[in-house]
Amino acid sequence: MKDYKKYIRNFSIIAHIDHGKSTLADRIIEKTGLVSEREMREQFLDNMDLERERGITIKLQTTRLVFKSQDGNEYIFNLIDTPGHVDFTYEVSRSLAACEGAVLVVDATQGVEAQTLANVYLAMNEDLEITPVLNKIDLPSARPDEIKQEIEDVIGVDAQDAPLVSAKEGIGIEELLEKIVTEIPAPEGDENDKLKALIFDSYYDNYKGVVIYTRIFDGTVKKGDMIQLMNTGKKYEVTEVGVYSPGPVETKSLRAGEVGYICASIKQVADARVGDTITIADDPTDEPLPGYKKVQPMVYCGIYPAEGEKYENVKDALEKLQVNDAAFHFEPETSTALGFGFRCGFLGLLHMEIIVERLEREFDLAVVTTSPSVIYKVVLTDGTVEMVQNPSNLPEQTLIDHIEEPMVKADIMVPKEYVGNIMEICQDRRGRMIHMEYITENRVNLHYDMPLNEVIYDFFDALKSKTRGYGSLDYEFTRYEPSKVVKLDILLNKDMVDAFSMIVHESKAYSRGRFVCSKLKEIIPMHQFEVPIQASIGQKVIARETVRAYRKDVIAKCYGGDISRKKKLLEKQKEGKKRMRQFGTVEVPQEAFTAVLKYDDNK
């Protein structure tokens, strides 16, 4: 049993959304006989409803599989899934750190995408062996030879022997599994050394507390051990260790090279942070694993209970979500317009949408979200610095020396015919092109230096719409940079509605102001008086629209005294009103808050 490590392969599958990662994972699980076909749910690894619907993986799923190779040996495959979106880069990097190799899935009809590339670079940073595989080979539009060349040119790995598979049709899976055995190295490490294990994911279980997904690099961990999490310094007693195959199976121990789970009565996932190192409390390893960082929210927005929704219910739901999501933060805040609510921090816009959708679906709550904002670094005249993520908290203009905004490096990959469109939307969003490279004859990778603020509003929608869905985006925070940003306020009937306030660049203030005013004009119903909608910077009004006063209110005959009908009509009118928020004297439909954020094609 000394060389048990020889028969372990720890790997991830990396792919662009839609390139078939989940389907391929399903096939691998099926082929290794772990789950019978009958038990097999489509896309085994994605088990949140939302993930299934959107076709993206948000939370990781890790599975231990047994594969009988043609060489006569049985191998243990630890398939470590990675989240598939730009907002979760750090989590992806930690999952990859738990592996020795990565299977790179490339759609044989589409080629390499920006996000694929981003993940490949992450994998390369972790020194992983990359095994390319071409998927969707069954489609008539597949161009395997061309794509192989593209992989070699762009990524620089040998792709000539890449297995040609169709995850959907189950073609080429066997060959791929053999490839994993021969190409991906077995793990190293010493099970007798001091414990050094990586947390690459965790989730909250109602009975067991936090369940940590871990990769053991050195040493052994078993039930009863007193462990310490090196970065947070906290100590816990291990209550259970085991592996997922695919459900949790308790084992005696986890040894160097193995992947499994640890339970230690930890109360919330924020205490067992992804990237942290687990060691034995009274016999710790010398130094933690590299690469740990505390994930910081990049985008903030207010979440408020909708009309008729209870504050407490929203709070309970947010708490439940937070237990399971270390990257999600919230704290109470009040808005004069929306009352009591919460300021919430997210990794990115998708993360935000997911949380809001989960509130609505899983908790059946109606909420109102305010304009998302990035965190601004406000340098005051007295030299102190304030980090501001809520436009309403921006100090008075006279106290501000200057404001800095977060910048990102955005990589956008598109077919070359859309380059012009991309340049247009990037320029429009204050992007500066760093450089542009032709990956192949037809595909271009554009590197932009852009304010995050511009990325979070509608950039992704615009990108998709201007490239007919072919463009892909990856971005990464780089630095804070001084910028001429201003606070744009919206006034309804002369009263400022704080929930609509946003921080925008000076150069965009006018167009943004006009856009919001005209959107609100469309959405706000007529009142019995004129409702001026104004956008202002400080005291200066920069855009204005007016919702005309309610006029025709149907003065009609009540034919034949059918009062029931009249009553129903009035009820309908009243029903429509309930979905409104009252701001001072003005009623605003809830949809207004999201509508002002939407990308407008006709803009």
């Binding site: 209110d553 149907v554 005959k557 034919y559 005294g561 009062i563 009243k574």
Partner: protein
């Protein structure tokens, strides 16, 4: 006639002080049939001496013979569906009569002895401009009927007008500002001429407000006879069936032709809402004393007086009643909805 007999059973001990023959074009019926209907009603119901008995007539389908017969049978009020004194507007509305038909009809009715006449006029019609409307109002006032009804055109789904306006976009409704201006202009002109604006869309010379009209808005009981007619009796609201076949079947079997699906027994709170919103149709508004008589509760135990502040200058409060100002009438539905 059969229905009258069937339905009268429940109304034997109730006094009937208003009969209204309308909905559709009753003047198309022969005057003899109208006469028989009225005779039957008088036989079966306790119709008071001074009952207001109205018939709706279309200027193009009425004749001296008919009018004389109506008078003979005790019809004392005529409602003429003039709609407009502009031939072009009448054409847009798809009416078969002309401006001259309307004048003639009115003059004949006066001459033959009708003392109490209503003229219906309509505004907010495609291609109708302010001048045309003012002319119509002026001419209506010039004839000096005892009663004038003004309605804003309602474009109902499924009508020819709906298709022209919303589907084929051949016609365009006047702007809402224009529509409101037409309404207020007409009220002003009528007021100057001595008409009292006693209900949202009705004005009358003193003492001539329509009893029939006020019934609906005063929480009084009424019985609707004929296809699809609505009734309110014994705290229940219901309609007759809309299908001629079902109607005839029911009558043959000697039962009331009520559409059972339409029967609404509202809760007390809902009835209060109806009392309130119907009350607001009237210039005098909601009568608190009457409210207490009907429901045994104080009006402001049920509704928040804050509404008066919310609709400042539109919803007015005066000692014993709550009513809409002329401006308030513009947004009557919105305010009425508050009471539902």
């Amino acid at each position: 006639m059969k229905e009258i007999r069937i339905r009268a059973a429940d109304w034997r001990d109730k006094k009937v002080d208003s009969i209204y023959i309308g909905g559709g074009t009753p003047s198309l019926l022969s005057e003899w049939d109208i006469g028989k209907i009225l005779d039957t009603i008088r036989e079966e119901f306790n119709v008071t001496e001074d009952a207001e008995i109205t018939i709706e007539v279309n200027p193009a389908t009425v004749s001296d013979e008919k009018l004389i017969r109506y008078l003979r049978k005790g019809i004392n009020r005529l409602s003429i569906g003039v709609q407009s004194f502009d031939n072009h507007v009448l054409n847009v509305l798809g009416r078969i009569h002309t401006k001259n038909d309307a004048f003639y009809c009115y003059q004949r009715a006066m001459k033959l002895g009708f003392k109490n006449i209503n003229i219906d006029i309509m505004f907010g019609i495609p291609q109708q401009n302010m001048k045309m409307w003012k002319d119509t109002v002026r001419q209506a006032i010039f004839l000096r009927p005892t009663h004038i009804s003004l309605y804003s055109l309602q474009v109902e789904e499924g009508t020819e007008m709906f298709k022209k306006v919303y589907v084929d976009e051949l016609l365009e409704l006047p702007a809402e500002e224009t529509d409101r201006e037409m309404y207020h202009t007409a009220l002003r002109m009528m007021r100057t001429a001595g008409y009292e604006h006693y209900e949202i869309s009705n004005g009358a010379l003193p003492g001539y407000s329509s009893r029939h009209n006020m019934k609906y808005w005063s929480y009084d009981e009424y019985l609707g006879l004929g296809l699809g007619a609505s009734s309110f009796a014994g705290g229940v609201r219901f309609k007759n069936c809309e299908s001629m076949y079902e109607y005839v079947q029911a009558i043959k079997e000697g039962v009331a032709p009520i559409d059972t699906a339409s029967v609404e027994k509202y809760t007390l709170r809902e009835e209060m809402g109806i009392f309130a919103f119907t009350g607001l149709r009237k210039a005098e508004g909601i009568d608190f004393k009457r409210f207490e008589e009907v429901f045994g509760m104080d009006f402001f135990d049920v509704y928040d007086i804050e509404l008066v502040n919310k609709y400042k200058g539109k919803l007015l409060y005066k000692q014993d009643r709550l009513f809409l100002s002329e401006d308030g009438m513009d947004i009557s539905n919105k305010i009425m909805a508050e009471f539902i």
